[in-house]
């Protein structure tokens, strides 16, 4: 190479620097390329200097805001403000220091964050008659992170002196893997008691206060089953529930949380009233249940 035939020290130094043998120099400035707007972000391209010391890091810096991004070309700069116009410069850095900034890029204006749809309807069911028993959703889509279930349900049980709550279980599993805790307020009057407690392990979950003795009673409940497809952890659940018994008497409000002692993905959910087989009362005609998927 012609450059090796000269004895000029500065040129020799340049050769040494370009091959990384000198340890005293900082890199030359990169050449700015093109900036492109993104969603609350931008990318900027650059070309590293062909002569001079080797750079180990390239940094793009916004103006305004001095928001930075590092990496190889193209560099992504995140956390920009949508609707604001930005230009960018790029610097090169090695152990000896940082180069002067490149010239500024073209101006770009990122868009605001558009969001990602994350809440989807999976299935709905309306109980067609009082003679139905267990309501179940099977082959539940496994592409979401959490399940939300919204219920408005009545009971067919009208026996005097009491009733039983809404219950559910998972994966058709009626073994003793379900535990839960709750706080429950009920009664008629200006001030009545609150109870709290926990149950388990049992073969299914209670998710609502007692339906008492009134066939006109019904309840609503909103469930979250978290991380339901994760096969490396046990499954947790929580819900808020309200019960109405045709008047103030015995109406109540409750909040539950619980654990399903299984690492299996949840592929089916079963609902019923009373015992696991619905023998003391079924979900009333017109009861409605909807299943939603929430992406993480």
């Amino acid at each position: 190479m012609a450059i090796k035939r000269t004895s000029n020290n500065s040129v020799n130094n340049a050769v040494k620097l370009s091959t990384g043998f000198s340890s005293a120099a900082i890199p030359n400035s990169p050449t700015i390329g093109t900036a492109t707007a993104g969603e609350e972000s931008a990318t900027v391209t650059y070309t590293a200097a062909t002569l001079g010391a080797t750079a180990t890091t390239f940094t793009a810096t916004s103006s305004p805001g001095s928001i930075t991004g590092t990496g190889s070309s193209p560099i992504t700069i995140s956390a920009l403000t949508g609707g604001t116009s930005y230009t960018f410069t790029v610097t090169a850095t090695n152990a000896n220091g940082t180069s002067a900034a490149s010239s500024a890029s073209n101006s770009v204006t990122p868009t605001g964050f558009n969001g990602v749809p994350s809440f989807y309807s999976i299935a709905s069911y309306t109980v067609p008659s009082d003679t139905g028993s267990v309501v179940q959703f099977t082959s539940i889509d496994q592409t979401y992170k959490d399940l939300m279930i919204i219920i408005r349900a009545g009971a067919t049980y009208g026996g005097a002196g009491g009733g039983s709550g809404g219950r559910f279980y998972l994966n058709n599993d009626l073994t003793a893997k379900y535990t839960w805790a709750y706080i429950n307020g009920n009664g008629n009057g200006s001030s009545s008691g609150v109870t709290s407690g926990g149950y388990g392990p049992t073969s299914n979950w209670d998710f609502g206060a007692s339906w008492a003795s009134n066939v006109n009673s019904f309840m609503s409940s909103i469930f979250i089953l978290q991380d339901y497809t994760n096969t490396s952890k046990l499954k947790t659940w929580r819900n808020i529930t309200g019960l109405y018994c045709g008047n103030g008497t015995n109406s109540g409000t409750a909040q539950y949380s619980g654990l399903y002692n299984s690492t299996s993905a949840i592929t089916s959910v079963q609902f019923h009233h009373g015992s696991a087989t619905g023998s003391d009362g079924n979900l009333r005609e017109g009861s409605q249940i909807q299943l939603f998927g929430i992406k993480g």
Binding site: G185, G242, Q255, Q290
Partner: protein, 177 residues
């Protein structure tokens, strides 16, 4: 067929001036469930406020609105339950005794199947202030679809204008398959 996204903003309202009767009318009937997220600024000079909701402007009759609320206050007894079988409105949250102007109460109100005309409407809420947390559930006895909701800090919607300017009410519609 891929499932559709079904959680949509249908109303966002910031209270422009203190009021005791805030109405959100002409609610879309295209969904199955309503979720109302509210952040209410107290304009009361120095007392706890109960917040109330009325559906379809219905002032009702006996047991038109039934709510059971359990609440807990810091450092106090575990909880109390207050049941309201009022005729004119549904009891929501409580900002707790001693709350002053400038204190915030935040809450969520769920009305599952609000367009259902077969039966009455169940309501679930939870929320509170820095001084009390609570959960309420109950019923609105009307069988018509809910097309409007209104809010007050007084059960009769006749008291002082204590829902403060800057309070925020956001309504979402949720649609099932």
């Amino acid at each position: 067929m891929p499932a559709a996204a079904t959680f949509e903003l249908i109303r966002a309202y910031t209270v422009p001036s203190n009021t005791n009767n805030l109405a959100l009318n002409s609610l879309s009937q295209s969904y199955d469930h309503l979720l109302i997220i509210c952040n209410i600024l107290s304009a009361s000079p120095g007392e706890g406020l109960d917040y109330y909701m009325r559906c379809n402007g219905d002032v009702g009759s006996s047991n038109t609105y039934v709510s059971t609320r359990m609440g807990a206050t810091p450092g106090g007894t575990f909880s109390t339950v207050r049941q309201n079988t009022g005729t004119t409105s549904y009891q929501l949250f409580y900002s707790a005794a001693g709350s002053n102007a400038g204190d915030w109460t935040a809450g969520q109100i769920w009305i599952p199947y609000y367009t259902n005309t077969v039966g009455t409407k169940s309501i679930l809420t939870y929320g509170g202030s820095k001084a009390e947390t609570g959960k309420t559930s109950g019923n609105y006895g009307g069988t018509s679809a809910i097309t409007a909701v209104s809010f007050s800090s007084d059960s009769g919607f006749t008291g002082n204008a204590y829902i403060g300017a800057g309070s925020i009410f956001t309504v979402y519609g949720i649609k099932g398959a």
